[in-house]
Amino acid sequence: MPTSMTARSAKRGSAGNYGFFGDDHGTGGASQRVYVTGMIIALGGILMFFMALTSAWVVRRGLMAPDWESVRWPAILWLDTLILAASSVTLARSRHCLAAGHSEEYRQWWGVTTILGLLFLAGQLSAWRQMSNAGLSLASNPASSFFYVFTAAHGLHILGGIAALLLVAFHSPRHLAPATASRVVALYWHFLGAIWVLIFALLIVEG
């Protein structure tokens, strides 16, 4: 671990040596970096949450119980997947502009990301509607139960992400530098994109 190495060389205690992830000295660096650390840790917890649901899915599917009925998933989920992927690209673009100092473009791409996020949610709701029109509710069969649980859990996280995007756009917290705020939000957003790909793959391959 690099920290203990640097720390050992700074044995006299004159320099600060914080963290696992970097070598910034002094509290100023640490107070910004701690938000990034906190988000990475939080993502660990969220990952475990979705892994637990996924394991439950694997076990329940593996039982080969007669009540499991394969479901034709609404086609809009494909479009939604593309929308979410696009939102990750626009967010990366936005952060790129921020780093380059083009603050106007940064705000524009940030806004596009937010709108794509809202579109994704609208698409998910429409998928729910199609499911329920086809007579598939939460309790209909285990495949549809898992579908609703996965999409609801993921959708709530996306909703939180949209709230964070809006917060940073309109009322960024005092203690966060814009670079930190956008980095924390981006970590979360890309992570949720990856989780969605995992869920969707699970649904279409074996659901």
């Binding site: 004159s14 840790i41 917890g45 949450f49 139960s145 917290p173």
Partner: protein
């Protein structure tokens, strides 16, 4: 969220009102105390529940005031079992060692002004309190508290009140309480981990952290990973209860003569999800105690912790292995014997890091200039109970033996000694040890020693005979064991255990008296009354909001430099510069 810097700004501003200061405080020390007092209330409730159970086991026909018709029904007994276990595990063993002492002392010991996210920290506490009230409210709904135990196995827990009283609204409230508690724990662990990673004082490398900090850090990682899984399982169970899904409910289930309209689910799936959380939860309860014990043993042996690196490695190994062996709770579930074998090996292998820790504790004591104030007595008591409880674990880790012992009092004895009593001895050691830092006074020594000996003897008197009851086939969770001849023969042992339980509970009144009387009348002490080395003693009492009054310490050495040859005193505080260490006046240097 709010970074630690802002608390400094807050502290330099105008003084906070009573509400902001003591109730809705973002100060980690106040939040630590809030958790502590919550645990104190919870442990009182849970002990009363256990006394009612012990009473009923010996005098099943006796009239009790709160029961319908005066006599406790088997279901009411099971409700006591459930609530005693749940409250003890979540609101005492999880809350006191980690959330209370961790919150208070982790930032102090790493030289930080506060937790990384103080407002999030406040939210964690309020969620925990809400969870406690919601869970407790299950007692006051018409059908009462749930009867499914703290493990809440479906189908019993997964349907509704058709499966028994308390399984309707009571079970739902219990489950909501657990989910809220889970969120509070997750947020808390994010705070603990981020703080430890990013807010350490200059010079405080990982291998200079006190073992308490290591223990809280590893515990927080376990909390983060385990509670996320419980949360997912809890939501699925809730949906089975209220939304008609069948994640855990099997097909063809007949309850009270009626066919349930669920199908195809797996009750074992819940057991896997639950124990994937539940086993790490055991270590969440015990690891902070291990940290405190290492800390206290070094302090009162006036020696460095023997094998510090091995201690850190053992904590990490126990934490990691803790996630791989949940299946040993399910040996009797009909699992494949090959799976049992793997879980058995993994379980036995955790004996290695546990033995490393025990060996090193004894190594720390060996040849030390031993002092035995109350915290030291409780630390040594912890080691004793940890060894005793660990030894019975070796038997239970073997599927063939567990098949015989699983549903008996042997298991109850095992987990009470290792997870309950040992962890609580850790809490007591921490309370006696850090009371001067928290309240500026010492607890009464004579009462502390009396409390220790009565509790030590009392706890062994309750739980040693329980092993024999279990080996003789005494079945756990039975409200009345006088009906069968072979069980009735065990009644004298039950009587002995009940008397011991009441006596031990009475001995805790000494602790309560000592604690509250010492708040105002304890002997006032200096800033470093135990001549200790770590940073929590490097600030004044009471530590102000922001902890070090702007004068943040830097760290120059390891955490346990006691009796260093050539030094003028037998302890070298971590924040003392190297050149000042030769001729220093302890009182002045570490009280600034």
């Amino acid at each position: 969220m709010n970074s630690a810097d802002s608390t400094l700004q807050a502290s330099s501003g105008r003084p906070l009102g009573f509400l902001r200061r003591y109730l809705f405080s973002t100060d980690h020390k106040i939040i630590g105390l809030q958790y502590f007092f919550l645990a104190l209330v919870a442990v009182t409730v849970a002990i009363i529940l256990s006394l009612l159970m012990r009473f009923h086991l010996v005098w099943p026909a006796a009239h009790l005031p709160f029961t319908s018709g005066g006599i406790m029904t088997p279901e009411q007994y099971l409700a006591l079992v459930t609530m005693h276990g749940s409250i003890m595990v979540f609101f005492v063993l999880n809350t006191a060692p980690q959330s209370a002492f961790g919150n208070y002392f982790l930032p102090l010991q790493i030289g930080a002004p506060d937790m990384a996210f103080p407002r999030l920290n406040m939210l964690s506490f309020w969620l925990t309190l809400a969870a406690f009230l919601v869970m407790l409210s299950a007692f006051f709904v018409p059908a009462g508290a749930p009867i499914s135990g703290w493990t809440a196995y479906p189908p019993l827990s997964g349907i509704n009140d058709a499966t028994g009283p308390g399984e309707g609204l009571g079970q739902s409230l219990w489950l909501v309480g657990i989910l809220i508690f889970g969120v509070g724990s997750l947020l808390g662990s994010i705070n603990f981990i981020s703080t430890t990673i990013d807010l350490r004082a200059p010079g405080l490398t990982l291998m200079r952290m006190p073992l308490t900090v290591w223990a809280w850090f590893v515990t927080a990682i376990l909390s983060l990973l385990a509670f996320a899984v419980l949360f997912a399982g809890g939501i699925l169970l809730m949906l089975d209860r209220v939304a008609g899904t069948s994640f855990f409910l099997p097909a063809g289930l007949v309850v009270s003569g009626e066919l349930e309209m669920h199908g195809g689910g797996s009750p074992l799936l819940w057991q896997h999800l639950f124990w994937f959380f539940g086993h790490p939860e055991v270590y969440i309860a015990i690891l902070p105690g291990m940290g405190v014990v290492s800390h206290v043993l070094a302090n009162f042996s006036r020696k460095p912790v023997f094998g510090y690196r091995a201690m850190v490695l053992a904590l990490g190994t126990i934490g990691f292995l803790g996630f791989t062996l949940w299946g040993h709770h399910m040996f009797v579930s009909g699992m494949n014997p090959y799976s049992s074998l793997v879980f058995s090996f993994l379980t036995l292998s955790i004996g290695v890091p546990s033995a490393v820790k025990t060996f090193n504790w004894l190594g720390t004591l060996w040849g030390g200039k031993l002092q035995f104030p109350a915290p030291m007595l409780f630390a040594v008591g912890f080691v004793s109970f940890f060894v005793t409880g660990g030894l019975s674990g070796i038997f239970l880790a073997q599927p063939t033996l567990d098949t015989e012992l699983h549903a008996t009092y042997y298991v109850v004895a095992h987990f009470h000694i290792v997870m309950g009593v040992a962890a609580i001895f850790g809490i007591f050691a921490a309370t006696y040890y850090w009371f001067p830092k928290m309240f500026g006074r010492k607890m009464n020594e004579a009462l502390g020693k009396l409390h220790f000996w009565l509790t030590f003897a009392g706890a062994y008197s309750i739980f040693l005979p329980m092993h024999f009851v279990g080996i003789a086939g005494g079945v756990r969770r039975y409200a009345d064991s006088t009906g069968a001849m072979y069980l009735a023969a065990l009644q004298p042992l039950h009587l002995f255990m009940t008397i011991a339980a009441f006596s031990t509970a009475a001995a805790q009144l000494i602790f309560f008296y000592n604690f509250f009387a010492s708040l105002n009348r304890g002997k006032p002490v200096s800033a470093n009354p135990w001549n200790a080395t770590t940073l929590e003693w490097a600030t004044t009492w009471p530590p102000a909001h922001g902890n070090f009054a702007g004068q943040f310490p830097s760290v120059h050495r390891g955490p346990y430099e006691y009796s260093v040859p050539g030094a003028s005193e037998d302890f070298l505080p971590q924040h003392l510069p190297e050149d000042a260490s030769a001729p220093h006046d302890g009182e002045q240097n570490h009280a600034n």
